[in-house]
C-alpha cells in the first residue's frame, strides 16, 4: 500500500516581484508518512511548515520535486479527496453559521442530499456544536469553537488524511488538550493525522513521528521517543525521602562515579496544574 504522503526533493521558491529576487521556503524535503500515523511537522515560524503543507494540499505548486498523496500526485482531485484540512487560525467565511460552514464544505466535496445532512448533524454533535450553537454565525464563535467547527468541516468527506495547521496555536489549555484528545481519537479511527506546530512541548505526547524543519530544510526526523530520549542520562522520581536520605543518595551517586546534573522537587507543567484545578465537569 502506498504511503499516505510521500515527497521527494520538494522545493518551493517564491518570486517577490518587481525584481526583488526570490525567497527559498522549502528545499530538498523528503518525507514518507505512513497510513494511520500521527505525524508532526515542527519548527519555528518561517521554517517552511505551512509551505510544505500547502504543497501537499495542492494550494502551492512545487518549484521542483514531487509530492504524492495516497499514490496520487498532490493537487489532483484524487489526491485532494483523501485530505481534510483545518487551516491555521479560523479562516472561515464569517457570515455563515457553523452548520452552513460544514454543509458548504460537504457540497464542495461533491456531497449532497440526505446523506450530507446526516453527516453534518453527526459531525456537529461530535465537535459539540449541535443544536443552537451550530446555527449561530461564525463571527460570534470563540476561537476554540471555530477550531471545532473547522474540524467538523475538515472531516465532512470522511477523508483518509487529516491535516491540521497549528491546531493548538492561540487556544487555551483546555482547548489544546481537547485537540490532542481528538487527534488520538482520529488515530484510533485509523486516520492519518498530519499537523504542524511551533509549540513543541504541546505535541510531544501525541505525535508518533515528527520532522523538525529549520529554514526550509529538514533538521531531524524520527520517533519522538528516539529523538527526545537522552540515553546517556538516567532520572529517578521518588516520594518519601527525607533530607538525610537525600544527602546519602547524592553521596552514593558521586561515590559511584556519576555526575549529578540536577536534583530537587519536580515541577508540574502549568497547563496540567490548570487543568487539574478546573471543576470536574469542565475538564472534558
Amino acid at each position: 500500500m502506498s504511503a499516505a504522503v510521500w515527497t521527494q526533493s520538494l522545493r518551493k521558491e517564491f518570486t517577490l516581484g518587481w525584481g526583488r529576487g526570490r525567497v527559498l521556503a522549502v528545499e530538498g524535503l523528503d518525507l514518507e508518512i505512513k497510513r494511520g500515523e500521527v505525524f508532526g511537522l515542527l519548527g519555528p515560524n518561517g521554517s517552511g511548515k505551512s509551505t510544505a503543507m500547502k504543497m501537499i494540499l495542492g494550494l502551492l505548486r512545487p518549484t521542483a520535486g514531487r509530492a504524492e498523496v495516497c499514490g496520487n500526485l498532490a493537487g489532483t482531485l484524487a489526491a485532494r479527496k483523501q485530505i481534510g484540512f483545518l487551516p491555521e487560525n479560523p479562516y472561515f467565511p464569517a457570515f455563515l453559521s457553523g452548520l452552513e460552514l460544514v454543509r458548504y464544505y460537504g457540497k464542495l466535496c461533491g456531497l449532497g442530499g440526505k446523506a450530507l445532512e446526516g453527516r453534518v448533524a453527526e459531525l456537529l454533535s461530535l465537535v459539540r456544536l449541535g443544536g443552537e450553537a451550530g446555527r449561530r454565525p461564525l463571527r460570534t464563535y470563540s476561537k476554540g469553537m471555530l477550531q471545532r467547527a473547522g474540524l467538523a468541516g475538515a472531516l465532512v468527506s470522511d477523508p483518509e488524511i487529516v491535516m491540521l495547521d497549528e491546531p493548538t496555536a492561540g487556544v487555551d489549555p483546555a482547548g489544546s488538550r481537547e485537540i490532542r484528545d481528538l487527534i488520538r481519537e482520529l488515530k484510533e479511527r485509523g486516520k492519518t493525522v498530519i499537523f504542524s506546530s511551533h509549540l513543541l512541548e504541546q505535541v510531544e505526547d501525541v505525535a508518533d513521528r515528527v520532522v523538525i524543519l529549520h529554514r526550509g530544510q529538514k533538521l531531524r526526523e524520527g520517533r519522538l521517543e528516539d529523538l527526545l530520549t537522552m540515553s546517556g542520562e538516567w532520572q529517578v522520581r521518588a516520594r518519601g525521602l527525607g533530607e538525610a536520605q537525600r544527602r546519602e543518595l547524592h553521596a552514593w551517586l558521586v561515590q559511584h562515579g556519576a555526575e549529578v546534573l540536577g536534583e530537587g522537587s519536580p515541577r508540574e507543567r502549568l497547563e496540567d496544574y490548570f487543568l487539574r484545578n478546573l471543576p470536574e465537569r469542565e475538564r472534558r
Partner: protein
C-alpha cells in the same frame, strides 16, 4: 459532471449568500428604489419629455446600481477571499479551480439578476404610476391615452433591460478576470472601472486604428490597437439610448449584442480559469 455542477452551485450559492448578508447591497438597493420613485417628479414638461426623463433616470439608476454591485461584488470575489484566506479552506477540497471561478461568477450574476429584477419591477410600477397621473391630468381622450400608454407600456423597454443586464454581466466577467490576476481588491475595482470607461471609446479607437493607415505614430497605433483588441465595445449597448429616445431597434440587433456578451463572458472566464489554475495561494 453532476458532481462538478454541484460544486459550482455550492460556490455560487455561497457567494450569493455572502453578498445578501452584507448590508452594503441592501443599502444600495434601497437607495436605487428611492431614486426610481423620485424619478417621477419632473412635471413641468410635455409627457413625452417626462417619459424620456423618467426612463433615462430609471435606466441610469439601475445601471449605476448594477455597476456598483458588480464592482463591489468583484472586490468580494477572489482577492478578498485570498486576503481573508478563506479561499484556502475551499480550494483544498476536491474542487477544481475553474469550478471555483465559474461558481464565483455565477454567484455574482445571480445577485445582480435578483437586484435587477427587483429594480425592474419597481421601475415598471413607477411607469404605470406616471401613466395614471398623466391620464388623470391630460384627460381621458382616446388619442392622448393611447399616446401616453405607448410610452409607458413600450415593450421595447424590456429589450433595453435585457441589453443593460448583458452589459453588466460582461462587467462582472471582467471583474472575475481581473480578480484571478490580482492580490488586491483595489486593483480589481480600478481595472474593471477603467475597462468599463474605455469600452465606451473602443469603437472610436477601433475605427481610428483601422482607418488611419500610416498617419499616426507607431506608439499611438499600438495604443489604439491594444484598446481595439483587448477591450469590449460597450458602445454596442448604446442601443439602450436609442430605445429610450423612442427609436426603433430591431430584435435581431439586440439578440446579436446578447450573443456577443455571452461569447465575451465565456472567453473572459476561460482565460480567468487558465490564469487561476497555476496561481499560488
Amino acid at each position: 459532471m453532476r458532481e462538478s455542477w454541484r460544486r459550482i452551485r455550492a460556490v455560487a450559492e455561497n457567494t450569493f449568500l455572502e453578498a445578501v448578508r452584507q448590508k452594503v447591497f441592501a443599502v444600495l438597493l434601497v437607495f436605487a428604489l428611492v431614486l426610481l420613485g423620485g424619478a417621477n417628479y419632473f412635471a413641468e414638461f410635455s409627457f413625452q419629455e417626462q417619459f424620456k426623463f423618467l426612463k433615462d433616470l430609471g435606466y441610469a439608476t439601475i445601471s449605476l446600481t448594477g455597476l456598483l454591485v458588480g464592482l463591489l461584488g468583484a472586490a468580494q470575489l477572489i482577492p478578498a477571499e485570498i486576503e481573508r484566506r478563506t479561499i484556502l479552506t475551499a480550494l483544498c477540497r476536491p474542487l477544481r479551480r475553474w469550478e471555483f471561478v465559474v461558481g464565483k461568477y455565477l454567484g455574482l450574476v445571480a445577485l445582480l439578476a435578483v437586484m435587477l429584477a427587483i429594480m425592474g419591477a419597481v421601475f415598471w410600477a413607477v411607469l404605470r404610476w406616471k401613466e395614471a397621473q398623466l391620464i388623470g391630468l391630460e384627460g381621458g381622450e382616446a388619442g392622448v391615452v393611447q399616446a401616453i400608454q405607448a410610452e409607458s407600456r413600450d415593450p421595447r423597454l424590456w429589450q433595453a433591460f435585457a441589453l443593460m443586464g448583458a452589459k453588466l454581466f460582461v462587467v462582472c466577467g471582467l471583474a472575475v478576470f481581473f480578480s484571478t490576476l490580482a492580490t488586491s481588491t483595489t486593483f480589481v475595482v480600478a481595472m474593471t472601472l477603467l475597462v468599463y470607461l474605455i469600452g465606451h471609446l473602443q469603437s472610436v479607437a477601433r475605427e481610428q486604428w483601422l482607418e488611419s493607415g500610416e498617419k499616426a505614430a507607431w506608439f499611438i497605433q499600438l495604443f489604439l490597437a491594444a484598446v481595439a483588441l483587448l477591450v469590449p465595445d460597450f458602445n454596442l449597448y448604446s442601443l439602450i439610448d436609442e430605445i429610450v429616445a423612442g427609436n426603433v431597434v430591431p430584435w435581431r440587433a439586440t439578440l446579436e449584442v446578447l450573443a456577443y456578451s455571452v461569447a465575451y463572458v465565456a472567453v473572459l472566464l476561460a482565460a480567468a480559469a487558465c490564469l487561476f489554475e497555476e496561481r499560488d495561494l
